[in-house]
Amino acid sequence: MSVDVTAPIDTTVRVRRPRRWSPSLIAGIVLVGLVAAVGLLSLVWTPYALDDTSSGARLGGPSASNWAGTDRLGRDLFSQIMVGAGNALVVAAASMLVAGVLGVLIGVLAGATRQWVDITLLSAVDLLIAFPTLLLAMLIVTVRGASLSSAIWAIGIAGSAVIARVTRVNVARVLREDYITAAQAAGTGWWGTITRHVIPNVAPTLLVQLMLLGGSAVLAEASLSYLGLGAPPPNASWGRLLHEAQSTMTVQPWGAILPGLAIVVTVLGLNLLGDGIRERTDPSLRGDR
């Protein structure tokens, strides 16, 4: 059967209940759970100590004793990748927190107050959205030096702009709904309206955005540490592992492949989790978007 570009004409035909446990949601939970488990495990156990240069032959390929091979100093790569998982999740969680708190505050303020506050905050947010995360990170690193917290602040502040935008749009939309007008007519105050009606309405969308933000935080952190602007050693970051492995990848290509795969798995997991939550919470969404 060929594909028809026209919309279905009779609406009664295409009613489809959103699946509560969509494949995206399950895959997202599995992938993020896997990364989180590895990260947690690395706190108590890794096959070798990170600075153990005698774990195997230098630049060795994957083997029974070094599952991902070794780097040019003879350190075990699998142990470093495990620790990198913890590092990635810390950056993701912390920048989600920074972005969430900042973004929701700005968004609620902009969406629920007077027009001039709205316009001022919106222009600031738009500027921040246009201001590339990488440049912001570079500014912050120039001032504070390369560190884990520099990366988190940069990614979090940059991400707060998107969260603020989403919050503001939804707050404004919810405030226009009839039931809000009704609630306010019935004497519900400004703060009551926000906490009782607006926040619960906005929460699912925000959760989705935060998950996606977590994904881009992992990507941004990897880029920063690849460039040498992330957490300095001994923090193991996947981006830095890739940078170090690049010069020796003719001999030991796995060092330049496996940390990248770890990044992809983590980001994919967070993105799928976001999609899954959206499919679960947004009743208007059809299964295939």
Binding site: V3, D4, V5, T6, A7, I9, S123, A124, D126, L127, I129, A130, F131, P132, L134, L135, M138, L139, I140, V141, T142, V143, A146, G215, L219, A222, S223, Y226, L227, G228, L229, G239, L242, Q246, M249, T250, P253, A256, I257, G260, I263, V264, V265, T266, V267, L268, N271, L272, D288, R289
Partner: protein
């Protein structure tokens, strides 16, 4: 017309705000710029002379006014480390970064627009499913890793293209220059396409569900005719809105990717300046890149007004 003036005004305000932010953030540096750049082991005399030369002995608002005044007059200042004018340093890097990001942007559009439209029209067909899955995977891949993998395959294993660097003669040896930029361009374009395909696909899907496409079909237009007549223009509205951001992405992607391929462009300059705390260079480069991004966004807004007459009516986009 009023809308255009409004947008230009907003652009100017954004530029001023951006310059203030860049300036203020960099003044938060502990100690001062002169001390930071000279490092340990410098005499007080050296420090003092550098301070007066840089103007960092002046109050901060005066410094800002001087910096902006110089910028407006076209004086971008001198680098701390190499003592060369920033303008010369930047000019020397443009022949690498500009072609790289522009070519990557064009290539990304050429890849993602047709793929996105086909993926939407055949959303349940094999093409649609594959494109969606690949782009879902693609947005999770860091751009620099794409570069690393391409180097591994096409430079180190197959030996088709150089793994990095730029010919010393530059564009005087066009074949060599293009060969060195080939992998970087593909890298940035592939990474961008993953994101843009999703936008194009979802914008097209939205349009496919619209009643006016059904109207067109009921009047005898074929699927593709209906999509071409009504769909692409309508789908272009949301897609164009992200083009500005995507052009910025290509520029920033170029900045990162230059470091993967050891290309002596703006990105490499920016990175060495950040690690060397070369304030004038960082300050000017960050502001210049931001200005380009803001300018692109403004242009995109105006382009949207051309496409969508509804925006011309309201004046302010919410």
């Amino acid at each position: 017309m009023k809308g255009v003036l409004f947008r230009v005004g907003a652009l100017l305000i954004s530029l001023v705000l951006a310059s203030v932010v860049v300036f203020v953030v960099l003044r938060l540096l502990p100690g001062d710029a002169a001390g930071a750049s000279l490092g340990v082991g410098t005499t007080t005399d050296q420090l003092e002379s550098l301070r007066s030369e840089l103007g960092t002995d002046q109050p901060v608002p005066v410094q800002y006014a001087q910096w902006v005044g110089d910028l407006v007059r076209g004086d971008l200042g001198d680098s701390f480390t190499s003592r060369q004018p920033v303008a010369d340093l930047v000019a020397a890097k443009l022949p690498i970064t500009v072609p790289l990001s522009l070519a990557a942007f064009v290539l990304a559009v050429l890849i993602s627009v047709p793929l996105g439209v086909i993926a939407a029209v055949q959303r349940r067909g094999p093409v649609g499913v594959v494109v969606s899955a690949v782009s879902q995977l693609g947005v999770a891949v860091p751009v620099f890793w794409v570069g690393v993998l391409l180097v591994l395959v096409f430079a180190l294993t197959l030996g088709w293209l150089p793994s990095g660097g730029f010919p010393r003669q530059g564009w005087d040896d066009p074949a060599a220059a293009i060969r060195s930029l080939a992998l970087p361009v593909v890298t940035v374009a592939v990474a961008m396409s993953a994101v843009m395909v999703r936008y194009v696909r979802s914008a097209t899907l939205d349009v496919l569900d619209q009643d006016y496409l059904r109207t067109a079909r009921s009047l005898g237009y074929s699927r593709w005719q209906a999509l071409r007549r009504h769909g692409l223009r309508n789908a272009a509205v949301p897609v164009v809105s992200i083009l500005g951001i995507e052009l910025a992405t290509s520029l920033l992607g170029a900045v990162v990717i230059e470091n993967v391929f050891a290309l002596p462009g703006l990105g490499t300059l920016l990175l060495t300046s950040v690690t060397g705390r070369d304030l004038p260079v960082v300050q000017t480069l960050v502001l210049a890149l931001t200005a380009v991004v803001l300018l692109m966004n403004a242009l995109v807004d105006m382009l949207q007004r051309v496409i969508d007459p509804r925006l011309r009516r309201t004046g302010v986009t919410a």
